[in-house]
């Protein structure tokens, strides 16, 4: 058993922490939350130069060949910084899907560009059913000579409004199972028939409604195999979910530290409020929440990195961590009182981000249902 990163990963993680502390002050986070674009090009460029945008891609595609544990280390620090932005949509959802399903040419071309910070991608999976299950895919793509014609509405698609390409997951055939007959298309966002509407959301994530109205896409733009996109979608969701868990762990750890620091400094009734057992119990509960989140996430990531079955562990990690992050930040709000409630404070950023993260990629209820299936129920 080893609950820690190795020395190299620790150095990398510390480097990431130092970078975000310097380059991502909370004033920038607040700007990213408020700004419609949400992905400042200077920061994006610096992250590309550090090799982080290609961290998990193999070297032949311009990446650094890191594994999921390296990604966990980086994501934890991004979560700690409460950093929004296009890493999630581009590097993870879009990039990993291409890595999992794409042709050599697609991988070489697109991933190299992502790594250099020259391309914004997103994956258009979810629809009005707001579900990450295959049954939620109702958008259709109908064959028309050398093209496909896509029609349907994609919902909650991150960064679609600034993406160069949207990877649209569409139904190409009615299969016997909802998982059959699903295909992925690389669609230029500027294609005729695409309408993108930015939705206002709690953490300022740039979620969009993307309407495909008879959008013509060349058959050459299919990513992976016709009718068989669901397996790589699932694999991508597993990887991205692990990354999201790590982001939540980093955020929850920071929220806990902020609450504890406040409890040590804030004096009421002539003593630091941290001497009150009521506050100590809240902090103890948060510590237990954060530690459990971390261990479940690490164990799931380790299993994934070893190629072991880990569907159960991922469901446990996301189900628990989603709710634990929310609880930890709500506790933070309680401990900080009024200052946590103002927009001048930083706790509010974590409090809102935690709820968005909980709902993203399947909340506790969704994950427990997935886990129940894995347990043979």
């Amino acid at each position: 058993m080893d609950f820690d990163f190795n020395d190299e990963q620790k150095m990398f993680k510390q480097g990431a922490r130092d970078f975000f502390e310097k380059e991502v002050p909370k004033s920038l986070v607040k700007k990213m939350v408020e700004d419609d674009n949400g992905n400042p090009p200077e920061l994006w460029k610096k992250m590309a130069q550090l090799g982080w945008l290609g961290l998990i891609y193999p070297e032949q595609y311009g990446g650094s060949g890191g594994n999921i544990i390296d990604l966990v280390a980086l994501e934890e620090e991004m979560g700690r910084a409460c950093l929004p932005g296009a890493f999630f949509s581009t590097v993870l959802l879009g990039g990993l899907f291409i890595l999992n399903a794409g042709s050599e040419e697609q991988k070489r071309d697109l991933l190299t560009k992502v790594g250099k910070g020259e391309l914004i991608l997103t994956l258009a999976l979810t629809e009005t059913s707001a579900s990450y299950a295959a049954s939620g895919v109702e958008t259709t793509a109908i064959s028309d000579k050398d093209d496909y014609i896509i029609s349907g509405t994609k919902l909650f698609i991150p960064d679609a409004h600034i993406a160069d390409y949207i990877i649209c997951i569409a139904r190409t055939k009615k299969g016997t199972k909802p998982e059959d007959g699903i295909t992925a298309f690389l669609v230029d966002r500027k294609s005729a028939g695409i309408t993108c509407t930015l939705l206002k959301s709690i953490a300022g994530d740039k979620l969009c409604e993307v309407v495909f109205n008879n959008v013509k896409v060349s058959k050459k733009n299919i990513i992976g195999k016709l009718d068989q996109a669901w397996a790589p979608v699932e694999l991508t969701l597993q990887q991205v979910t692990l990354a999201k868990c790590a982001e939540m762990v980093g955020g929850a750890q920071r929220a806990l530290e902020m609450a504890a620091d406040h409890a040590k400094k804030r004096v009421q009734f002539d003593r630091p409020i941290g001497t009150f057992q009521s506050i100590q119990h809240l902090i103890a509960n948060s510590m237990m929440d954060v530690d459990a989140s971390r261990f479940l996430t690490y164990e799931a990531a380790w299993k994934f990195s070893e190629g072991l079955p880990c569907a159960k562990e991922i469901a446990m990690a996301k189900g628990w961590t989603s709710e634990a992050y929310q609880r930890t930040t709500a506790t933070g709000e309680q401990v900080l009182g009024g200052i946590g409630y103002t927009t001048d404070g930083d706790m509010q950023l974590y409090y809102k981000r935690a709820k968005a993260a909980e709902l993203t990629l399947g909340d506790g209820k969704f994950q427990r249902e997935a886990l129940a299936k894995e347990l043979g129920m």
Binding site: D2, T275, Q280, M287, F295, L296, W320, E369
Partner: protein, 409 residues
């Protein structure tokens, strides 16, 4: 990062493999069906029938304290062999807390080994290694979580102490021979300073033991001392240093508890039960409430396992585990209660049926656990108190200032 599950025997040397085989064969001959049945029932505090006889047999082999030198009744085996014996026992019976631990000198042995005089080691260690039974004498009516306010008096008289006072919740005192007793030997000093640790003979004149019955149907005791003489040579450590001895013993006790097996067993039982039990023509496992509830409990069991492994990992690294082991204790005790509570809810009206009752589901284990697991939330340290420690030691919050109230004389 590495989360490989340890498989029993995986890292054995050739010598250890041979020893493991020897232990296994011996256990197969000497573990009685009575003992297997006893450990397979949910028991929290009470004596398991056949436990003492089994401990004595283990003691004859030197396997109760295998790493001790032979002169103290051990087997003189290197470190690591103790866990082989524990693992092999665990393969055959459900290894719950108290079993071979608190009641057989597993707490007192290590403490005397580090704090006893050469004469005391010669006197007590062989007895402990042979399976002598001890009851703990810490708690009193007015000294629970605040143990240092204990009031039982020990007054020097010649070569003896004369003891007067009362101990409470002294599990096993009605069958154990010895009482591991925290006594106030100097009431003039601040409360942590005037305490001494003394081994008393529970069969001595002046000791009265009365029964208290827990809601789990098990016996614990009140023990009254009325002018009971104990030789001063039975005091472990210097006079007035009892508090540090208690801390030493509490550490040994925690180390001896091992992994509490019930949460995992009960949750697996419940999952199986939900799959096999039909209500209104449908398996319980198709009910969304049941699915959610059991998936959460299964996650919690994993959390408990990981908290536990983390403590082991920290010990290997030589880190202070006090608050990390408190997390294990808190989570385990509260999880055990949640499992029983939700298990009964899942069963509906059947949930309230006691073990042995007609129609009882899962042998009535959820109902029994609902009663029995309550003790774990305050026994071995109140969860409320332990949460203070987690916040102060683990997160550096300032301690609550103590009120200066002197010990009542």
């Amino acid at each position: 990062m590495e989360f490989k599950e340890y498989k029993i025997g995986e890292y054995d040397t050739e010598e250890q493999k041979k020893f493991r085989k020897e232990v296994g064969e011996w256990l197969d001959k000497n573990i009685t069906s009575e003992l297997i049945k006893g450990t397979n029932e949910i028991r929290v505090t009470a004596y398991i029938p056949g436990q003492h006889e089994f401990a004595v047999k283990l003691g004859e082999k030197g396997w109760l304290c295998p790493e001790w030198p032979k002169e103290y009744g051990g087997a003189g085996l290197p470190a690591g062999y103790r866990s082989i014996i524990a693992e092999e026992i665990g393969q055959r019976v459900v290894f719950g807390p108290g079993f071979l631990g608190g009641l057989t000198g597993g707490v007192q042995g290590p403490t005397i080994m580090s704090a006893g005089t050469p004469e005391q080691k010669k006197e007590w260690l062989p007895k402990i290694a042979a399976g002598a039974q001890f009851a703990l004498g810490y708690t009193e009516p007015n000294a629970g979580t605040d143990l240092a306010s204990l009031g039982i008096r020990g007054v020097k008289d010649g070569n003896d102490y004369i003891l007067n006072g009362q101990k409470m919740f002294s599990t096993g005192a009605h069958f154990a021979r010895y009482h591991w007793l925290a006594v106030r030997t100097n009431p003039e000093l601040p409360k942590h300073k005037g305490v001494s640790m003394i081994i008393a003979d529970l069969k001595a004149p002046g000791v009265t033991i009365t029964q208290l019955t827990t809601i789990a149907g098990e016996r614990t005791n009140e023990v009254f001392y009325d002018n009971v003489r104990v030789p001063q040579t039975n005091r472990i450590g210097p006079e007035g240093e009892g508090w540090s001895i208690i801390r030493m013993a509490l550490t040994a006790e925690r180390g001896d508890l091992g992994t509490f097996p019930w949460p995992k067993i009960l949750v697996n039982d419940l999952i199986q039960y939900a799959k096999e039990t039909k209500r209104n023509g449908k398996p319980l496992s198709e009910d969304p409430f049941v699915r959610q509830s059991l998936a959460q409990l299964a996650t919690d069991v994993s959390v408990l396992r990981l908290y536990n492994y983390r403590v082991g990992w920290m010990i290997d690294k030589g880190l202070d585990v006090s608050w990390a082991s408190s997390m294990v204790k808190i989570f385990e005790s509260e999880l055990s209660q949640r499992i029983a509570n939700q298990g009964m809810t899942i069963m509906g009206l059947y949930g309230q049926l006691e073990p042995g009752s007609k129609y009882a589901q899962l042998k009535g284990n959820m109902e029994l656990a609902y009663r029995a697991m309550v003790v774990r939330s305050f026994g071995g340290g109140s969860n409320l108190r332990l949460r203070n420690d987690i916040a102060t030691r683990g997160m550096g919050l300032p301690r609550e200032p103590a009120l200066a109230i002197p010990v009542k004389k």
